[in-house]
Symmetry: C2
Subunit: 511 residues, 2 copies
């Protein structure tokens, strides 16, 4: 027997409630579509309309201005994901947990999952069938232990769950930094060098969360970055390389979903990091990948032993997925370059490409070193010749020219790229020598100033480790677009400037 007609349908309405990632559906408490025994607030419901299905978290309202009894209110992102029109008829029923959640429970109990089970979990994740709590359950169940085979299956399933890019060349090189270091915009120098040499390097980057600027944010001050797949391919065909935002191309969407829950929980396991990086690169069609692991007390990786574990895992998964992975460890004790924030970092990058005398040497050297390693994948440049070739392409102006070509090909940016109009200096409290810089504190201050949303906000660093400073001398300058940002960032810097000063003669310092 069919009782579908007994369950009243509701008409879609858009409610202006932005929940970021979790789907929310608002229903009137007086709605005939709600059976009291099965619906309670914050339970999961399944919406159906014309063959489309969406799982959402139920919020109940008594206010007819939000939803009338015969309506269902969808907030952002639920309205967008459901892809229905206002007024469409929807039926609501209690959501059954996705079947793959049984595998998550098994994992929590210590079992090892099969490729199929992991594949089903990733499929349900990408279909937004998991609530935040259920995503957390999967992440935490996997956090205590994950076998190499499970990691491999997870990475592959994540790559398969979104767009897979293909390229006409046999070799596609790529680089990735595990992040955490302020500044450090090497990709925007490495890509034009490597592309100018002739290797294909279609770089997709993330926006900055939780750092004050990602490569996509910084590149966006110079050119458009939200290219679709075909546009991206056209740019690469013309320039050998590109510097675009990966979000628009839908590479490994499961990764974005997992990260949206990892971040508020501050869960950061090695396995998740490897699955995240390699699923994106596999989806991007990379065949050779250079991974930069900065090591430092306030970096993501604190010591060489941890870097080695991460390296082994990357190599293991890369090997089996057909990506040749090379890992380099770099100095992650302090910011790379002088600017922190999109506009300031873009200025550093362009200064290096233009060979300006004030260009930050550390950024230049690191970019040359990474580009050199990538270039040595050219059979003609093996055995240490890569660095010299990279320097030749940079100093001879070929890299700058290639960057200008990429910028032109990607098109003009829509974002206002001016340095913040307000500034304030953070000064040394006493004479000394810079003994340490806390990358986390520097990131927080730059974000508080407004970066990356305000592209011109951030910090200009004047002093690095080893530099002598006198009391009252500026350590860095805060830039912001508004007084609140400037003052809040300054207050944060006053509480903890992120600098450790050592006495000139003694070894130990205090902040």
């Amino acid at each position: 027997m069919s009782l579908r007609s007994d369950r009243p349908s509701l008409r879609i309405r858009k409610v202006s409630l932005d929940t970021g990632r979790e789907n929310i559906a608002v229903v009137s408490r007086r709605s005939q579509a709600l059976r009291p025994e099965v619906f309670q607030a914050f339970a999961r419901v399944e919406l159906r309309s014309n063959g489309r299905v969406l799982l959402a978290t139920l919020v109940i309202s008594d206010d007819d201005r939000f939803v009338a009894p015969d309506e269902i209110g969808l907030g952002e992102p639920a309205f967008r994901r459901f892809a229905g029109a206002v007024g469409d008829e929807v039926t609501v029923q209690p959501a059954l947990s996705p079947a793959s959640l049984d595998s998550v429970r098994a994992k929590i109990q210590g079992e090892t999952l099969s490729d199929e089970e992991i594949g089903a979990i990733v499929k349900d994740l990408v279909a937004h069938r998991y609530s935040d709590m259920e995503i957390a359950a999967f992440l935490i169940g996997s956090a205590s232990f994950m076998s190499s085979d499970e990691l491999l299956a997870l990475t592959r399933a994540m790559a398969d769950a979104g767009t897979r890019l293909t390229w006409p060349t046999a070799e596609v090189v790529d680089k990735h930094c595990i992040g955490g270091i302020p500044g450090n915009r090497t990709s925007m120098i490495v890509v034009p060098i490597v592309a100018a040499h002739g290797l294909v390097i279609p770089k997709t980057s993330s926006r900055a969360i939780p750092s004050p600027a990602g490569t996509a944010d910084t590149m966006e001050t110079l050119a458009r970055v939200d290219l679709g797949m075909d546009e991206m391919k056209a740019v690469v065909a013309e320039c050998n390389g590109c510097l675009v935002w990966g979000g628009h191309v839908n590479l490994s969407p499961a990764d974005d979903i997992l990260i949206s829950v990892e971040r508020p929980l501050s869960l950061d396991t090695r396995e998740q990091m490897v699955a995240s990086i390699l699923s994106k690169k596999l989806a991007a069609g990379s065949t050779r990948l250079l991974i930069d692991i900065p090591i430092g007390p306030s970096a993501k990786v604190a010591d060489a032993a941890e870097a080695m574990r991460l390296r082994k895992l990357c190599e293991f998964v890369g090997d089996r997925l057909g990506i040749r992975v090379e890992v380099v460890t770099t100095d992650g004790r302090q910011p790379i370059g002088d600017g922190i924030g999109p506009v300031l970092e873009a200025a550093d990058v362009m200064a290096v490409l233009r060979g300006e005398p004030t260009a930050p040497r550390d950024l230049r050297e690191k970019a040359l070193r990474l580009a050199g390693r990538l270039l040595e994948w050219d059979p003609g440049l093996r055995g240490g010749a890569g660095y010299d070739r990279a320097r030749e392409l940079l100093d001879g102006g070929a890299a700058l020219k290639r960057m200008e070509k990429i910028v032109a090909a990607q098109g003009p940016t829509g974002c206002r790229a001016e340095l913040g109009r307000l500034s304030r200096d953070v000064t040394a409290p006493r004479d000394g020598r810079v003994a340490a810089i806390d990358c986390l504190a520097i990131n927080r201050i730059a974000r508080t100033a407004g970066a990356p949303i305000d592209a011109g906000a951030g910090l200009k660093i004047f002093k690095k480790i080893g530099d002598r400073v006198e009391a009252g001398e500026p350590l860095y300058r805060i830039f912001a677009d508004d007084e609140t940002g400037r003052d809040l960032a300054f207050a944060k810097a006053t509480a903890d400037a992120g600098y450790e000063l050592a006495s000139i003669d003694a070894g130990e310092g205090t902040r």
Copy 2:
């Protein structure tokens, strides 16, 4: 320096959005109090007003009907928990994760937590400082392994985090059933018997989630159950016992919070069950506790080995917390009593207390057995005399009289307690013998009919295991208050009636 004045405050407004358990705060996208670098939708924020603090999940709106740019909208339960007035000024800042979340992360990584760490987690839980995701992280981190000492610390911390009841007598007896069996309202018979004998038995019960009726729901059809602590004490002083809803007395509120997340995740670990039961009983001031573990294929505990593990754990924790625990295992293969749903179960209970010939024998026998065990804690009744004494009190009418006294003392109920006006029979598809009854299916059908929200909805069972049935003969009758409930429940029963029939001659049956 203080910059508090730079951060604009918002005025509290109530928005009609019921989220059940998670705190939600709605803020306008144009609000000056939102700094873009630190606020994103579904991030956690900290609200402060006159020394009060509340953590909430941020929802951003563009609709001034929800919130104007200078307002902050609090839904239920956030408005109630914050205990502020409409129009109060509130400052908003990004919420730092509670410090105890570091211990949760350590637990996820396999560490064992100290008493202090567990105490801090429970304190933050009860202060609503944990998001659902963070609660899930704690539960899942603990699900794979929890040491006896951790379990002990958790139970103690949970009991300490709410009201602790104290009683004038040295011994306070109590009973608890781990649940899952439809019907099974023994407490409402056991309490009057034991109280009539003279032992003190202040019974607090939960409402039914996810079953079709809890003891509190069923008792509420006869008397008021939402008594405060002083009212409860007065009833116990007068009657030796009571049958009240525990929710109003705030016993182990951390338990309710953990359960609200365990349930949607279908996490049900032994340790959490023991901490849940014993923290409530410790908080209730019980010194002796009888725990009923029904065993059956569709009960919470499927076999004797699992029951034994649970018993050992209960005894271990009880011993150390000063509660003498006795565990009995009972038949959990089918419903106990004939009625499922508050009104129907109350009718069974009163029929047993009144000694009516139609009273369900299984309910009577189980209640006498449990009451007998409790009575033997009276030094004068050791060695098996408890059962006879219980029968004497029941058959002589003392238990009924005591029940009437308790009902009068608790006061008249506000709930409408009439049997559902609509009904429909579910019949046997063929001749046979009842081989098995699926408790989960029976619970689902009764809930779909409307129980426990509609107190008169539910099922009246006609056939139990071993009974012969003829094709077309009713197995049970569905009662409901409205056609939707009746028809949806009937549709569920048509898909799966929850009965397994065996052929009269053969051993095996099919549904």
